[in-house]
């Protein structure tokens, strides 16, 4: 999977390249709009991460130029301005997703993965992780064959973590996916819910599956 990052802020470009690279992507970086557009036209990328405020050509112009050249590459744009008009404009110009700075890297990674997965999605009915088994159709979860008594929201939370196992999910992503709460304040509510889920899923067992990533969120994985 090859990703192009068009970003003029050196530090941002650096941590994006490093982070995405470590997550298994091949990353190219362009530091201004002109170079970025040329590169995007000449190489077939799977995804482009595009900053809006750029020297040379701004993000809007790059996006317009790219679409005019007939490219269908997915574009995720980054903006420091979160006015709704700006987002609408991005989608009108043919962007596929956006993130507002400052963003959590785990969030960006989740978006990138979901954009790229979308093209090759296949539904699963049963998710397994070590001795944990989740039957999504029958809404049942077991560990070591032992049935876990979960509320419907706890089941949703566990299956979200399981479906995206190994991926750090931010509290915002969890709140949105499980409770349809789309605002980022008061996310310690998620902590409480995860704590309660842990007491049922992890506490009775020796192997811990749900892990806290300080400052980022939660991840389900077997050590």
């Amino acid at each position: 999977m090859r990703i192009l990052v068009i970003e003029d802020e050196a530090k941002t470009a650096k941590f994006l390249k490093k982070g995405l690279g470590e997550s298994g992507f091949v990353v190219d970086v362009a530091t201004d709009g002109m170079d970025g557009l040329e590169l995007a036209k000449s190489v077939d990328f799977d995804l482009i991460i595009l900053d809006i405020m750029l020297p040379g050509l701004d993000g809007w112009q790059v996006l317009t130029g790219l679409r005019q050249a007939g490219s269908n590459t997915q574009v995720l744009f980054l903006t420091a301005r979160d006015a709704i008009e700006e987002r609408v404009r991005g989608f009108e110009l043919g962007a596929d997703d956006y993130l507002v700075k400052p963003f959590a890297f785990s969030e960006l990674l989740a978006r990138v993965r979901s954009r790229l997965r979308r093209t090759q999605a296949r539904p699963q009915n049963v998710v397994r992780m070590a001795d944990l088994e989740i039957d999504l159709l029958r809404q049942r979860a077991t560990r070591c064959g032992q049935r876990l008594e979960l509320t419907s929201k706890e089941f949703l939370l566990l299956s979200l973590l399981a479906r995206r196992a190994g991926e750090v999910l931010s509290r915002t992503v969890i709140a949105e996916a499980v409770w349809d709460m789309n605002f980022d304040s008061d996310t310690n509510v998620v902590d409480v819910s995860v704590r309660r889920l842990r007491s049922k899923v992890d506490d009775p067992f020796a192997m811990k599956l749900i892990h806290t990533v300080r400052g980022s969120g939660y991840v389900l994985e077997a050590d």
Partner: protein, 490 residues
Amino acid sequence: MSWKLTKIRETFSRIWHTLAFRLTAAYACAGLLLVFLATFSLYLVLVSELNKSTELFLKDKLNVLRTMLRERPDDSDGLREEVELESAARRYEQFYICLLDQNHQQILITPGMTKELNLAALSALSNGRNDVAFPMTGIHGRAFRVITTKANFGNAANRVVTIQVAVNVSQKEELLARFRLWFWLTSAGMLVLFPLAGYQIARQGIRPVEEIATTARRITSSHLNERIAAEGYPYELASLALTFNNMLDGLEDSFERISRFSADIAHDLRTPVNNIRGEAEVALARARTIDEYRDALESSLEEAVRLSDLISNLLFLARTESPLTHLRLEKVDVAELLDGVREYYDASAVEAGVTLTSVAGHEPITAELDRTLIQRAVGNLVSNAVAHTIEGGTVAITTRLQAASVVIEVTDTGVGIPPEALPRVFDRFFRVDPSRSAASGGTGLGLSIVQGIMLLHGGNVNITSKPGVGTQVTLRVPASKNAAKALVKD
């Protein structure tokens, strides 16, 4: 020369544009005009009355003589007495009578009349002016009024006598002259007095205005505590001063809030930045274990998250104040929305030992709302309520339709808010308990955000609280865009 003229014109223009000058000029002009009109009309009345009395006197004399000539033509002694003696006896308003026969020969004449009046001129003047008094100047320059008439002598129709009566009106003329003199003197006096008095009155009236202006000049952002002492002002100016003072109260309050806000924002922004900076510096000061580095990085990340949450909250608040912000209105089932919020906070409530319920009325309540924003507003309220309610308490979310508004109430049995803190709970960064740090008590922006969301929806938020009993927050939003417009019109 021309610059001098310009300067004079400028000075005049400056004076002309002062209220004191205009008022003074208006008072003086009005006063002078009134005195002038009053005196002038008195003078006219006096003149006409004097003329009338002279006329009556003359006519009376004519009448007496005419009657004597007709009724007693032979009583020459009586006639003589009337003509010669009566007049001579008078000192004031002396009159002179002359009787002429058809051939213009004198029959009788008051002694001294020839010395005072030119009789030939009198006859010439009186020609054709029977029974009408007219003025005439005597030989010594004295003013006279003269009347002439024809009268029958006895019953003989052929003997017609001409009666000429002249009365000395010079004393009356002198009276009028003195009146005129006084009139001019008085006018001259008034010309000086009126502007002085007018200026005094104008100054007196304007003084409060000047005091208000002086106070206003003293007011700067650092001297907002200045107030106008309105005691003793006339009603109109007292109300102006009161309005002004009220405005200052409002300004002072806003300024205080803003400076408090700036101080708070500085504190809340500096703390996480300071933590990141310090932690990184200390971590880099010497070689450390991997775990120590990890801990420093994780802590920095937590602070960065806190900082970016704060920034996004502040930006959100700033946007709620912009009239250009658009809501993404959609038809929302309010009961379902509240149920969602209740589910979200369920775990927190259970942990805190608080019963959390959401109750809707029997009829379904749908409204045009921005789902995310209302979720956020109610969420903030429920979060506050759960945090401030002790174990065993309850938090209830209820909703109902009231007229064209959707009312959402979050009621808790919590610790409550002291009355003195109640008016400030919607202020940014205000925390009822100032010792609560950001770690335990949130950002202090929750209720400001609730208020911002309500304003965006054209609704409002109300809070009532009793310490030890509980708090109730009421959100009121128009059920539809049309209802919102109707509310705005009211």
